[in-house]
Amino acid sequence: MRILCCVKRVPITGGKMVLTEDEQALQTRHLGFTISPHEECGVEEAVRIVEAGGGEVVVLALGPAEAAEQLRECMALGADRAIHLESEEEWDAQATAGAIVEAIRAEAAPFDLIVFGNESADTGNYQVGIRVAYALSLPVVTGLKGLTLAEGRARCEQEVANGRDIYDVPLPAVVTVKEGLNLPRYPSVPAKLRANRKPVDLKPVVPPAARLQKLRLVVPEGQGKQAEVLGSGPEAAPEVIRVLQKLGVA
């Protein structure tokens, strides 16, 4: 089984969104970076499949030079090698899908399963995986919370109100996954060391003109309410009850 997982480097924004002066990006000087929890579950799932049945897990990121950190983290989770499409620019979803498709076509052998997050953590476009599937004429199931592979088919579980919808599609296929699919492991120190020696295929790429073009970012109002302090410690309990009564939930 050959599996590709696509991951995107994003900042860990913490308690507050702060923009750069030109309003084009988040101020990230003091922030750490990660990938979406959805994508992390995607990588974990792929690694488990290959651990159980053999094969190869490849991780792909389109992003700046520093996205190498996220690729290394994915390889510490168990991915075998990485493709880094390097660009400092922000790409729209349509262009991102195009670049990923090109990278997949450039591979020596096709993938049996291509895994995306249901939506990227920062831009949340809900579409890159679906676009890649169409370009490659593959079936695509979105928002998975459960995946079982058997006999060349994928049984996919999607969460809906009060239950799960089940899909059953032939491989090769594209899936987009959500956090909760599994509980990703914490990489061990030896796994991190091994990750440093795994191969990364670095390709510089240049974005086409964006068709959904970011003009500027805006931080929504409403960060900075003045909370009414009901008290400190357990002595505040009677005040809390008064609030519960006022809200009609006591």
Binding site: A93, G124, Y126, I130, T142, L183, P184, V229
Partner: protein, 301 residues
């Protein structure tokens, strides 16, 4: 000018999409699979056999686009709304803007980071594909005379390769997190899986549900189904009680729909207080049981 709106079902998010679509002007056409009630001028009911198949629904919409040449297609900001619209975008190789909150000609505002940040963008396309950000628009309560037409889309075998083949019920019978009137939610400050007992007790007393932060699910203290936030469940209770939660934007993205937020935290500088209506400062392990005891006292139980 014609605008087409995808009416997924008789639900709130679809009516919100109708509001956005209506605001774009022109004649409003709707498309649904099976009959729905929606205040559109013309409703095209696509007749598609069998269960949900995103490719088939997208094929129906693209065929209607060919016929009507609309200036925009608007979808609800639901899982299926975004999914079907992305299929349409892929079929037509057109840009798509998800979770839009405002449209001004070729410019629009959309949500990033689950609504914690806005992006103003220009969409370069004669046909704009837009999904309406959930709860950014009031549901349309227009009363209009709707002309209903049915049509049978041409489907290729590939359109139905992906289709729901089974439905499994997972309802536990308890109060679901998404629908609870009160959510008692715990973060790292709760300290352990066992630590949640005091939150469960209070939630049970209030007829509510227990929620948690991502730190808690990553540590394995609670299942992911309990996680509130950008990559968890979005809740809109009358009261959200955040215990030992710092207030990261990704957590707030899931609970900002609450009518009121009470934060219990031992750090007076915690960000959560900037999102809270009510604050209690101190150790949640003392405060939560005290609230439970006081509630029992006033109820006389």
């Amino acid at each position: 000018m014609t605008v087409l709106v995808f009416v997924e079902a008789n639900d709130e998010l679809s009516l919100q999409a109708v509001t956005l679509a209506r605001s774009l002007g022109g004649e409003l056409h709707g498309i649904s699979v099976g009959a729905v009630d929606a205040p559109v001028d013309v409703l095209h009911v696509a007749q598609i056999e069998g269960s949900y198949a995103p490719g088939a629904w997208a094929a129906a919409i693209t065929q209607l686009i060919d016929r009507l040449a609309p200036a925009a297609v608007v979808a609800p900001g639901s899982d299926r709304g975004n999914e079907v619209l992305a299929h349409v975008a892929a079929r037509l190789d057109l840009p798509m803007a998800a979770n839009v909150t405002d449209v001004r000609g070729d410019e629009l505002t959309r949500q990033r980071w689950g609504g914690s940040l806005f992006e103003e963008a220009r969409i370069e396309s004669g046909l704009k594909l837009l999904s309406a950000a959930p709860f950014a628009f009031a549901p349309s309560d227009n009363v209009v005379e709707t002309k209903v037409e049915t049509f049978v889309p041409d489907l290729a075998p590939a359109d139905t390769v992906v289709r729901v083949v089974d439905v499994v019920s997972t309802s536990t019978g308890g109060v679901s997190l998404a629908d609870a009137k009160v959510v008692v939610s715990g973060g790292r400050g709760v300290g352990s899986s066992e630590g949640f007992a005091i939150l469960e007790e209070l939630a049970a007393l209030l007829g509510g549900a227990v929620g948690c932060s991502r730190v808690v699910t990553s540590a394995g203290w609670r299942p992911h189904a309990d996680q509130v936030g950008q990559t968890g469940t979005k809740v809109s209770p009358d009261l959200y009680i955040a215990c030992g939660i710092s207030g990261a934007t990704q957590h707030i993205a899931g609970c900002k729909g609450a009518k009121a937020l009470l934060a219990i935290n031992d750090d007076p500088e915690a960000t959560i207080f900037a999102h809270a209506d009510y604050a209690v400062i101190g150790d949640l392990h003392e405060i939560v049981p005290a609230i439970t005891a006081e509630l029992r006292k006033v109820r006389g139980t």
